[in-house]
Subunit: 516 residues, 2 copies
């Protein structure tokens, strides 16, 4: 058995059965091993950013890691942006990166690069295997690292001779380390804050797994018992929304809106959440978006079990889980006419099927926090976690695969960011995935026009030119068809509703260009 | 004056007047400065791999660096693959990478990443400026680094507060360091090898600037006087080809072919070239593609002046530059029928206009080493230097800009690698560039099928699936039109000739899908 074969056997034994791939020469032995060993579902991406973004989407929906197969150096580099997002969202991914044979590396052949340095920027765990004998063991350790709660990026670098050499040994799966237990002192401290009297109010700020399962009901139960409020972190990997779920507000994106939303709180209890800081520093604006006098208290870190922490806190303050309020579908007629953000939300909320997945990279339009979605059929909401734009198309594609093709994925995709990774459309067509993409075509980098305004003054001709996507106008219908995906364009909300309904009847992908 | 303004002024003073950009929030102050200070030609790319690839193409043709404007962390990461190629090809580039404000970085906001670590993988020079006062000085040093002979990748990381803060000071241009002088001992050693008697022959192996200007004529003059041979390194940034130029053979790509081509030589004199090693290690094949007993001698390193080295060597052995042999245009009728590699070369060689640029990322088809091109009108040949695929479209786009839109660029673009960076087509349309792309559509990763064969056995269904681009077929005509570029398809050589001729009459870009 060669190293590559021991790799595939160990992955399968460890429960990794899906591989997102864009292989090169140094990965050919892995591909050959896949030919000989059945059981791995291989999904090809046309660019590594598609590959890594798919793995992120898969992990969020399947709840377990997939592996990627990436080419050395620049191949891995191409996938870093979406690995950054996965790292920030704590998705588990096992990257398998081929590399030069150990004896070939010192010759500094043209494609040789510092693959390890690139991997370290986005990985919690990195190892370069040296011999075929070590491949199985290292693979099992990589999977264990990726499964570390709630998920980590693990990168195994595999020199070609470790892959092709004989002596591979299949390793037994290693149990993932248990999440560090909730600290009773942290629970006690949170309870004191909740019981404390003060001018301001107390906020339970949820993120990560505290947003799933019983997390929101426990948080609202605690809030009801203590007079606190509940909010979700702005960047969240996975939200459960719609009827029968708690309508969670998120901390707003802009500094001004976040400062206003968080102004009432002088005690903030973080449950898997990080302190609310702005995305960027801006001249004359604070970086911390909460009142300066506020006390921040960590009930649980992202690597701990947020639901267990909430349960312990509920016990401590004598609260129980509070079921979500009844919410009914919006019975008003659907909005029509020119697209606007609230109308888009109402159309989508009315039509998203039960169990559907909404993948949001809307950037400047449509927000995604619209309360309209709280009246929708129960659905899952996934969005950008690390701010590296271009994850929408791949994330949706991977999510559809993570759901075994059984759940419709509807994407809200800004046009500017969509152009970073549109190649994922081809994988949607190839795998016949139930993906509907709504491209929000404003034909400019609208978010940057807003950021430019923060710099002061009106954009001049150079700035307008660098933030404009309208010269020439990008034809999304042609692009989608080029990749084998059916598509149509509309500039009205009724047109959107018609096309969205039609897309839901299809088995495969569809793209709607919504001119806004 | 703020830091960003001092940056733009210093760039312009230092002779950098072209900026390839894909800005984000942390770069808005730079964009605002460009609005206020005239003189910088800004070119927008839809993805950072397009931006960095354009800068490489520009440097190769303009003979001087451009700057790029890239977003922090993942933005730079997206551009690394083509910076790797630029590094290997020794193109001068000044990267300006925005980053979190210095005081904001410790807060670990979502988009924070190790921008410096990413930069170091591909840059000869990296600096993170800390204050507005230092921006001008650091910019001048970055430009000097990029201009270090024959060119280097220099990366200046600019925290947003260094950009927006007051106190910027324009710096005077710094003279680029002179290339280290040719070592007389190296010249003497080369002369001894050329005069030496032995079983085998002597090879002058040229790369980098030794391939330009008088380099080939000097090398052939030396060869004629001493009985040596002349060859070019496989990966070369810039070749002068066609009538009135020396028909230089390149060391072949595959190990077998290279071993055969280099078998006669037991003395190899490197003029800017690196030792001929294989791209990858393969089981049972040597990594070094020259005879084991061969003596390798460095006449000049890539950072030295290759033409001066050849001139010194010619003086030493009593040789003079030998003008290229007369070569005439191929008067045979153009080939017709189904495309084949030699036919493609003959069509292209017959039609490339004088002074045209051929940009080659043909990967598995068409080679590019075809002797047909030696009979073509004089033209420049640029191709992949670092093995990171996906440089073709951006390289051609940047080359057209580097030539001021005055030279036609004809690209031989493999379909698989073209899909990494097709977004460059939009920039071609936007800038109305004289670019003709011939997409060589075999609808599979043909090169990897060859590499797979090296692994042994025939590819099974999994391998075929992962190396296949035909399910669904990618419609390049639709993709080009989506980005605003006219396009047509053909599957014959006469169709190619007709479309190529028609494209040459246009001012703007055109894409031909050649089904092979």
């Amino acid at each position: 058995m060669n190293g590559a074969e021991s790799l595939v056997h160990t992955l399968l034994k460890s429960g990794i059965d899906t591989c997102f791939a864009n292989p090169g020469t140094s990965e050919m032995h892995f591909v050959a091993a896949l030919d000989r060993i059945p059981g791995m579902h291989c999904v090809l991406g046309l660019h590594e950013t598609v590959v890594t973004g798919m793995a992120d989407g898969y992990a969020r929906i399947a709840g377990k890691p997939a592996c990627t197969l990436l080419h050395c150096g620049p191949g891995l580099a191409n996938g870093i942006a979406n690995l950054h997002n996965a790292r920030r969202g704590r998705s588990g991914i096992v990257n398998i990166v081929g590399d030069q044979a150990t004896y070939h590396r010192p010759l500094d052949a043209p494609l040789t690069a510092d693959t390890e340095a690139l991997a370290r920027v986005v990985s919690a765990w990195v190892r370069t295997t040296q011999t075929p004998q070590e491949v199985g063991r290292d693979t099992a350790e990589a999977v264990r690292a990726a499964r570390t709660h709630p998920g980590q990026v693990a990168t195994l670098i595999l020199p070609a001779d470790a892959s092709w050499g004989d002596g591979g040994e299949v390793a037994e799966p290693l149990p993932a380390a248990a999440a560090p237990p909730v600290d009773p002192a942290a629970v006690d401290g949170a309870a004191r804050l909740l019981r404390g009297k003060g001018e301001g109010r107390t906020l339970l700020l949820l993120a990560a797994d505290a947003l799933l399962g019983d997390g929101p009901s426990l948080a609202y139960g605690i809030a009801a018992a203590t007079g606190a409020d509940v909010m979700a972190q702005f960047l969240t990997g996975n939200l459960q929304r719609g009827q029968g779920r708690w309508p969670l507000a998120r901390v707003p994106y802009t500094v001004e809106a976040a400062l206003e939303a968080l102004a009432p709180y002088d005690r903030i209890i973080q449950v898997g959440a990080t302190p609310p800081v702005s995305f960027f520093g801006y001249p004359g604006k604070p970086s911390q978006m909460f009142p300066p006098q506020a006390v921040l208290h960590v009930l649980s870190r992202p690597d701990q079990d947020g639901i267990a922490a909430l349960r312990a806190l509920a016990d401590e303050v004598g609260a129980t889980a509070l079921p979500p309020p009844q919410s009914n579908a919006d019975s008003a007629p659907l909005p029509t006419g020119a697209p606007h953000a609230e109308g888009l939300a109402r159309v989508l909320a009315a039509l998203v099927p039960e169990g559907g997945i909404i993948c949001e990279e809307s950037v400047s339009f449509g927000g995604g926090t619209g309360p309209a979605y709280d009246a929708a059929a129960p659905h899952t909401w996934i969005s950008l976690t690390g701010g590296a734009i271009g994850d929408g198309f791949p994330l949706a594609t991977g999510a559809a695969i993570g759901a075994g093709g059984q759940r419709r994925v509807i994407s809200l995709q800004a046009d500017g960011s969509g152009l970073y990774s549109l190649q994922a459309l081809w994988t949607q067509a190839r795998e016949r995935l139930p993906c509907t993409t709504i491209v929000l075509a404003n034909r400019r980098y609208q978010i940057l026009l807003g950021e430019y305004a923060g710099v002061g003054a009106n954009p001049g001709p150079t700035a307008m030119d660098m933030l404009d996507l309208g010269n020439p106008v990008i034809d999304w219908i042609a692009l989608a068809r080029g990749f084998g995906v059916e598509a149509a364009r509309t500039d009205t909300l009724e047109g959107l509703a018609d096309l969205l309904r039609a897309s839901l009847l299809r088995d495969g992908p569809f793209l709607i260009e919504l001119v806004i």
